[in-house]
Subunit: 138 residues, 2 copies
DNA sequence: CGGGATCCTGCAAGATACTG
DNA sequence: CAGTATCTTGCAGGATCCCG
C-alpha cells in the first residue's frame, strides 16, 4: 500500500538519512523541514485562501512574533511557495500571495490538515491511554 | 478551493494560535508538531511498509542516534500511530508495528511525501533563484 | 506599515557511557 | 538487543528597540 513512494526509495537505497552530508538530497526531509516550522502550515493555510498583507497575517495569527512572521514568510518565499509584492504607497504595503507551486503543495498538505482535524480526538485519546498506563507502571 | 477545512476554521475563529494557551485545542499544530520532528516522517515511512525491530530501524536510518530513535518511537506510540510488542526472548527483541490510526494518517501524509519527491527539483531551483537575486542586491 | 538588528532563552537533538 | 541516564550544544523562536 502507498507503494510507489516507498518502492522509489528502496531503489534509491534506504529511507534517506544516508551518508550523513546528503540531507539536501533527501526530498522528504528537505521539504518537510520547512513545513515543520512552528508557523509554516498556519501561514500556508491562510495564504491558500487568498493573498494577505503583512499586518493582516499578524492579526490572523496573533501569537506570532513579527520576527518569526517575517522570517517564515521569507523562507516560504525562498522555496517558491509564496510571492512577495511591494506597493510603493506611503506608508508602504506588502502583499503575500501563494504561487502555483505553493498551491500544488498545499493540495496534498490540506488532506493531512483535514485528517488532523477529523482525528484529533483519537490522538488525544491514545495519548491519554498511554499516559495512564505509564502512570500505573510507576 | 480546499475550502472545507478553512471554512471550518474561520467559523471556529481564525487559524488557531488564538488565546495563547489553547495549543492543545489546535488540531493542526497538535498533529503537525509530532510529524514535524526531525525523524518522525522517516520512521512512519518505514513502518508503513511493514513492522520493524529496533535494530532494523537503526540500520534503516543510520544517522539517527539511539536516543532519538527511542524517543521518537515512544512519541509516535503515545499518539497511537504505532504499537510496541516485546518478545521475551534472550536477548529480548522488540517489534514496532503501525496501527490502523497510523496507517490512516500515513495515507494523506504519503501524498505530501510523494509531492516532495516529485517537486524537489522545483523547490531547489526556486531556492537558488532567490539566493542569487539576494546576492545581486548586496 | 513592514520590516531589520540584537540579545536572550529553552528545548530539540547529538555524544557518550552504562544496564537488564 | 534494546534500551536508560547524563551531559552538552546548536539553533528555533521570543522580546525589545530602531528605522525608511
Amino acid at each position: 500500500m502507498s507503494s510507489k513512494l516507498l518502492q522509489a526509495e528502496s531503489q534509491t537505497g534506504r529511507a534517506c538519512g544516508n551518508s550523513a552530508s546528503d540531507m539536501s538530497n533527501c526530498p522528504v526531509r528537505d521539504v518537510m523541514d520547512r513545513i515543520a516550522g512552528k508557523w509554516s502550515t498556519l501561514l500556508l493555510e491562510a495564504l491558500a485562501q487568498r493573498p494577505y498583507r503583512f499586518g493582516e497575517l499578524r492579526r490572523l495569527v496573533p501569537d506570532i512574533s513579527q520576527r518569526m512572521l517575517t522570517q517564515t514568510l521569507r523562507d516560504l518565499q525562498r522555496d517558491g511557495y509564496i510571492d512577495r509584492q511591494v506597493f510603493p504607497t506611503k506608508p508602504p504595503s506588502v502583499e503575500y500571495r501563494m504561487t502555483e507551486l505553493g498551491h500544488s503543495l498545499f493540495q496534498p498538505l490540506a488532506q493531512v490538515l483535514l485528517w488532523a482535524e477529523q482525528n484529533h480526538a483519537s490522538v488525544k485519546a491514545a495519548r491519554q491511554r498511554y499516559d495512564e498506563s505509564e502512570l500505573a507502571r510507576n
